[in-house]
Subunit: 138 residues, 3 copies
């Protein structure tokens, strides 16, 4: 069995985080699939999907870390091409990735106590993001 649904998520200027755990759980419930996997795929190149603890200090730490190792203000070649000033957004997105696969058991995501699914906006402006959610199983 395959069930697929698109989600539209409004983000704020990056770096910013949206907790999408309950939205993914809702899709899983609607699918009627009890055991298998769900793939969360971001149709974009300047945001990312990750699983970790949704804690404000940790999110601030990630922003500081990004600014240190992949800083916004540098003479990036990509910014010379497009002038959007979001080369760092693409590069940060590359390292985290935008496709996540999570198991499904007895109709629920098998997330641990501290695991939340976070949509990480990395672009320099707010965006409406499109996610493709695919549930496969029995």
């Amino acid at each position: 069995m395959v069930y697929q649904e698109n989600l539209r998520i409004q983000t704020r200027q990056g770096p910013s985080f949206e907790d999408i755990t309950s939205k993914i759980n809702d899709v899983v419930s609607k699918s009627g699939i009890k055991q298998g996997i769900v793939n969360v795929f971001l149709s974009g190149t300047t945001a990312a999907i990750l699983i970790n603890e949704n804690e404000s200090g940790l999110k601030a730490d990630l922003e500081l870390l990004f600014e240190e190792i992949i800083p916004e203000k540098r003479k990036w070649n990509h910014n010379a091409t497009w002038g959007e000033g979001n080369a760092h957004s693409h590069l940060r997105s590359l390292f985290i990735g935008g496709s996540l696969t999570i198991p499904l058991k007895q109709g629920s995501l098998t997330l641990g106590t501290w695991q939340s699914i976070l949509l990480l906006e990395l672009d320099v402006r707010s965006r409406e993001r499109n996610l493709v959610i695919t549930v496969i199983g029995a």
Copy 2:
């Protein structure tokens, strides 16, 4: 067909590596599924799953690299929140990820000669880790 099993893996204080390739192969064998994919999912936020060469020099290099770009001893905000001193563990975990999907062909993982599946403990203490292994295919 869907087959699912949980694995409990005892780790040592991080950074440390456990080669779980043969354990995953065992689950694949038990599943009876010959062609498809296996998803290896870590139910935790301070460890990671990766595929690479299981070579001691390379593992030492990764530890040194982590300490350089995501050092343990820094005034991380997350450590101020919880006092567990493992903000760096979360951040390193974020960058590597904890969900891996591997193809299955003629009943075996299609790993290359040098590819091992490694559970990377990143927390400051030993842990018992829970992995959810999901095999999907025919």
Copy 3:
């Protein structure tokens, strides 16, 4: 339904990029599967698979960034073991990863406008890479 195919891709000395989007689309077409997922898996430890914009400035930026945070010329332990001088290739590969899962809808990949699937060669020499493409769905 499961469909599986191997792709052989000739790369140039790394860092170098091969756009494999159309090749993956061809496999999806041949599979006859209309809705589900496709997993792209690299059987190697010194290259990576990523999705982002195929723009020359951005690719140059990634090369510069890699050289800064994971430099080629350093006394890496892995190079002392094997003498191939590609420890940095393994480490860069670890951070990006070599397994990607992409949804399939109405027989096509659900890639956004700017999303290309790139095989990133990270080794110090040209290689023939083996990819395992697995399509699962209905």
